[in-house]
């Protein structure tokens, strides 16, 4: 499966130590716009399979990660490269804009 649930305990391995760029979607079940973003992120995961890693952080379950990266509004999407955040989006993003942002850093 290309789409990964990321938690506090898997963040280091999946995101910080990844040799590919990682797109992380910060979301929650009670956030309406996040429900719209979810299926789009899943499509991005499918299309970018092998080229980039795509994961989702549930802010209810991992408030520490949200706090660490200054997430104060969801959906927030952050692209990490080499363990560092290189691009951040706030609000629902289209598949095209996410893929083109990932393509730039591959």
């Amino acid at each position: 499966m290309a789409d990964i649930k990321i938690t506090d305990s898997t963040f280091g391995k999946t995101v910080l130590n990844s040799d590919k760029p990682v797109l992380v979607d910060f979301w929650a079940v009670w956030c309406g716009p996040c429900q719209m973003q979810g299926p789009i992120v899943e499509e991005v995961a499918k299309e970018m399979d092998g080229k980039a890693v795509v994961g989702k952080v549930n802010v209810d379950e991992s408030p520490g990660l949200a706090g660490k990266y200054g997430v104060m509004s969801i959906p927030t999407l952050i692209i990490f490269k080499g363990g560092q955040p290189v691009k951040q989006f706030v609000g629902v993003q289209s598949k095209e804009s996410l893929i083109s942002a990932l393509t730039v850093v591959i």
């Binding site: 956030c31 309406g32 716009p33 996040c34 429900q35 719209m36 973003q37 598949k95």
Partner: protein, 296 residues
């Protein structure tokens, strides 16, 4: 070439799509930056007929989308920048789409104060969606800017998370209904700050507070902007006749350009209800269908 291109993914857009796709018209629906429209920012909707126990806004919108897709509507996400003036139309966002008719259902979006520091702290303490972002302000001090029902409702909702909420309004009186004002006034977490105009927001990486025109200052962890809505029609000003507030001028759903129809909150400054928008979406679909038949 599509028979109908619908721009907008709220109740007006999806209802129009259900009608045109079900009438075997080749239909494309283009969803903008706020996929699903304003209802995706709400919680329970109690006044949409057919749901006796209420329904969650995002759920209702997903159902409408599935219903439109079931009849063959194609849905894409793009932000449209221009539309040509004669049928067949080309609408252009990140790429171009061709359609014989267009239904504008772009709705309305939350108004911004329009100052540079507001954009700087967007998502870093400044929010336009209490249901989305209230969670991040547990035990914090926040302000809600505005004087209408939305401001009162958001402030009341935010008492679930924040320890202190200040409703900041630029006038002495409120536009909000009495019942909403009373509810806010009776809440021990909510206080009021009146006749204050925002000069600028300040902070470092996150919001720390706001400075007012009168020289006073209010330290804050978060700011929710609830100063009303404005029709999402700026991209149409060279194509269609708009009124002085930016709403698309229509007769029924017919705009100033033959073959372009409009429905929902982008034409309606008066009712602004999901069920009204859905009704107008149906009207626009039937008007577009009739217009296409007249062309044959």
């Amino acid at each position: 070439m599509y028979d109908v291109i619908i721009i907008g993914s709220g109740p007006a857009g999806y209802t129009a799509a259900i009608y045109t796709a079900r009438a075997y018209l080749k239909t494309l629906l283009i969803a903008g930056p706020q996929f699903g429209g304003q209802l995706t920012k709400t919680t329970t909707i109690d006044n949409f007929p057919g749901f006796s126990k209420g329904i969650m806004g995002p759920t209702l919108m997903e159902e409408m989308k599935q219903q439109a897709v079931r009849f063959g509507t194609e849905v894409v996400m793009d932000e449209i920048k221009t539309i040509t003036k004669t049928s067949p139309f080309t609408v252009t966002g990140s790429k171009g789409y061709q359609g014989k008719t267009i239904i504008i259902a772009t709705g309305a979006q939350a108004k911004t104060l329009g100052i540079a520091s507001e954009e700087q702290f967007r998502g870093k303490g400044i929010s336009y969606c209490a249901t989305c972002d209230g969670f991040f302000f547990k035990g914090k001090t926040i302000a809600v800017f505005g004087g209408g029902d939305t401001a009162m409702e958001e402030a009341t909702f935010l008492t679930k998370f924040a320890s202190k909420i200040i409703i900041v309004h630029r006038r002495e009186e409120f536009r909000a209904s009495k019942i909403m004002i009373e509810k806010a006034k009776n809440d021990p977490k909510i206080s009021f700050l009146l006749s204050k105009t925002v000069k600028e927001f300040y902070g470092n990486t996150v919001l720390r507070g706001v400075k007012f025109e009168d020289g006073t200052d209010l330290p804050l962890d978060g700011a929710f902007i609830a100063i009303g809505h404005t029709p999402a029609t700026a991209f149409l000003k060279d194509t269609l006749t708009l009124d002085e507030k930016g709403y698309v001028k229509v007769t029924n759903t017919v705009t100033s350009v033959p073959g372009i129809f409009a429905a929902g909150d982008c034409v309606d400054s008066r009712y602004r209800q999901a069920v009204v928008a859905a009704g107008m979406g149906c009207m626009a679909a039937m008007d577009a269908e009739k217009w296409l038949e007249g062309k044959k």
